[in-house]
Subunit: 343 residues, 2 copies
Amino acid sequence: MAGKGRSRASGRPTLEQVAVEANVSRGTASRVVNGSLEVSPYALKAVRDAIRKLGYVPNQAARSLVTQRSDTVLLVVSESEDRVFGEPFFASIVRGLSQELSSTPLQLNLMMASTARQHDRVEQLVRNGHVDGVMLISLHGDDPLPQNLLAAGAPVALIGRPVADGGAVPYVDADNESGARAATEYLYQQGRRRIATITGPRDMAAGLDRLSGYRAALRGKRGVTRLVARGDFGQASGESAMRELLAKDPKLDAVFAASDPMAAGALRALWAAGRRVPDDVAVIGFDDSELARNTNPLLTSVSQPTQRMGRKLAELLITQLRDPDAKLAPVILPTELVRRESA
Amino acid sequence: MAGKGRSRASGRPTLEQVAVEANVSRGTASRVVNGSLEVSPYALKAVRDAIRKLGYVPNQAARSLVTQRSDTVLLVVSESEDRVFGEPFFASIVRGLSQELSSTPLQLNLMMASTARQHDRVEQLVRNGHVDGVMLISLHGDDPLPQNLLAAGAPVALIGRPVADGGAVPYVDADNESGARAATEYLYQQGRRRIATITGPRDMAAGLDRLSGYRAALRGKRGVTRLVARGDFGQASGESAMRELLAKDPKLDAVFAASDPMAAGALRALWAAGRRVPDDVAVIGFDDSELARNTNPLLTSVSQPTQRMGRKLAELLITQLRDPDAKLAPVILPTELVRRESA
DNA sequence: CAGCGATTTGGGAACGCTCCCATCCAACCT
DNA sequence: AGGTTGGATGGGAGCGTTCCCAAATCGCTG
């Protein structure tokens, strides 16, 4: 009885078998599986019972073959090697992402793509229908990939505002500007009047926005000394920027660094220069990363809702998958100043 | 001509079209695509040219349907919520992984699976042939998932030695014991004689192995004071463990912490107690994480080759995919002591 | 009770590929 | 020269779905 035919190794039940078990046709069984409404309650129940009894699960390959969909979305991490910047985010964003995805039948595919060759591969994946949509977490804002994918007709969603935003690609980002503004204003309210900032690279939106937030906070304020030094989000750059600032204005009493590693670097430079934090100089970072919870003194930092960003990213893509013509506005999530010891 | 039939929207070329273009049969074209040797040089060239000309790429769904393989492997991150421990590793391991995978036709699927329901989903994925194999990066060593997957007949590979190792599941791990031993021996060689350790949780192999490394290093050494305090890999636990150790032996002159966050916590406690690092007390951490490069003083730490671990992990799985009966020994990768300022 | 629209159902025809078997042909052996 | 061998090739038969159209059934209405 069991296992007549030339059954393959995998004794996985097919829709046909479900249909036989339920005494209906393959077509009807398919309708039940796909939640079509045109099925009599009687047949519905019979098929459902059969499915349960046999432990039927649709064969994704067969389904994809005919529907021309893959029910898979791709997350591309387009990082230029070991940019430390990506790290703190990554795990958390992925977590949010997969949380959101888990309530859908969508699978998550992951690809690291730094080289141009890998970028090509991503495009190929899209063109060949291996994935239905692409999410991109990219570090350089001028990446041409999103535009290319869009041109290839695939839904795309981004983490981080693209520097050259054509407005075509929906993205989710933290409200970098207002986060930076809040941090700077906080310093001002604490009575600090010589407030410096260490910026990120100017080819990244996050760096630019945080700088404008700093500027906006101090705009129109009288009696405030402003100082700007450039960094690249890395710790070493923060340390040397801090030394530079200290040389320029030995009496500065506050620093807003556009990233936590830079803030940590600043902390070191201040310590080496004999300044006490926060007594002499207050320091605020950005990201509220693991790092902020481990420096000495603990770092006051602007927190981004990375997990929520991940969820939103998935949401943005899913919406487009459902309605390919949906025009989506960017999603800007609020940041929060987390007070610790350094300011 | 072009696009007779009821051609679908996606004008993707099929193998049939390649065959026509190359003036051979579908069968021959397939043989070329799959690298079969039984093809005449002439046909080989014709088909290759046609493939290039048409931009043909095999349809994975169709292929899977008949081969019953998915050419997809799954990475399951089985973490209990926000265990910070996972973070430093994650990105780096994934990078190594996908590097190794990029030279194969294998796709990488990612799933976060903390809850039991999600674990079930993983098993289903395997049973239904959606993935050909599973890699697991798990934080609790007593996870039953690997055994279950193995029972379901799927190749499995792990990062981190499972606590209850049946010997059945191949894994890759850093050489925790000898890393800890090297760190401890280094402290000893520096003339330290009151050497404490802050351990990890005892339900994790990494924690246990690092403790035995510490013990091994000091075994038989005379005139050395040993002190052990328990932590959980987290920064807070490191800080309080350090206080406890200081209370027990105010004169201790070195600490080996089984994780960087704990070392950072220890640094704080030492600083609060007025001890200078490394002058009064030397501190060594484990992981050589981002954190170690940002503390003050910079943390001397035991580095794990996380990226290589990722590559090896993939390799372990691929080997099994090629030869299902391959019996694989665990892969233990060497660690390295990275000297910075704290010791 | 015939007639008719609406609802539900059945099953053929792809989807694009691999597998396998039959066929073909050239080279080689006796 | 006939027979044999073996490599190269062609193409049919699925793989398990979904889609769609035709057929069956049902419930009313006139």
